[in-house]
Amino acid sequence: MADYLWSVGSPLRKAFVPGRQGVLSGEAGVFLAELTGFSLVQVMARRGRWADTAKAAKTHYGVAAPDRPTALFGKQATLVWSGPDQFFALTSADGLADPLAPLRGVFAGIASLSDQSGGRCLIRISGARVRDALAKVSSLDFHDTAFPVGTAAATSIDHTNVGLWRAADAADGSPVYHLLVFTSFADSLWHTILDAAAEYGVDASRAGVFA
């Protein structure tokens, strides 16, 4: 049997162009970044075992498991609500180690685990005009009072399912959002956001997930 060599590539290899795009004058209003170097595990509680799952998550990650649409930021992991009785655990990873290995014992018998590290693309969108850009593609209310730091949502952008949450504000006080999208839809979503943000000036880059 012939060996197949798997090579790791960015899900945005077609769409991603680094640097300044859209309107070129003035400061970029929107910063887009593909975040790399993460592992992502979906944890889904088995029927009637949510309380046990939440307790195990708290012990393992040091941060409570989200039981409503929120993202909770721990030292080692970010836990993001993805639906009733389920969440994503986002951790930093720089190798190809199996992210499920340390979790199997933690959630044995109470939750089902699914490694989504290679299945999702993580995009960070920020900047002074980020809300204006997102308003064109999302039906959610991103006002500070409706969507404060730590709010998460499972929603659709351009008919594409996304997991979305608001992280801590940038140094200049502008909001920062993270988007998780299926890898095969990532190019398309990137183009959509780029088009929506072009009039504000876009700066595209790649960065480490917890950098």
Binding site: G48, W50, P69, G83, P84, D85, A153, A154, H159, N161
Partner: protein
């Protein structure tokens, strides 16, 4: 039209998929359930094909596939589209039994 998902909050219609009347219950007595009752054929014909065409409040199954991927039971007036209640369908969310 907007639907207030009990898990996500108020969302636009485009995130949801319509299934239909939530009232029909799968009849018992089919061969696969162990022994066919004489009434099973008629009961299943009714369950699979026959639907009431209500003018007024109707409880329907909707799927929040563009969001939290939960099945919901939505009570909606078929004449005004006013939504009167939204609750998780039985079995939605692992913490709920059934």
């Amino acid at each position: 039209m907007r639907i207030a998902c009990p898990f996500c909050g108020e969302r636009e219609l485009g995130e949801f998929t319509y299934l239909g009347d939530a009232a029909p219950k799968r009849p018992a007595g089919f061969a696969a359930d162990g022994g066919e009752l004489p009434s099973a054929q008629d009961d299943f014909f009714d369950y699979v094909y026959l639907r009431d065409n209500l003018a007024g409040d109707m409880t329907e199954h909707w799927y929040h596939g563009g969001g939290c991927r939960s099945w919901l039971a939505v009570t909606r007036s078929t004449t005004t589209h006013e939504i009167k209640a939204v609750r998780p369908a039985p079995g939605a969310g692992a913490s709920r039994a059934g």
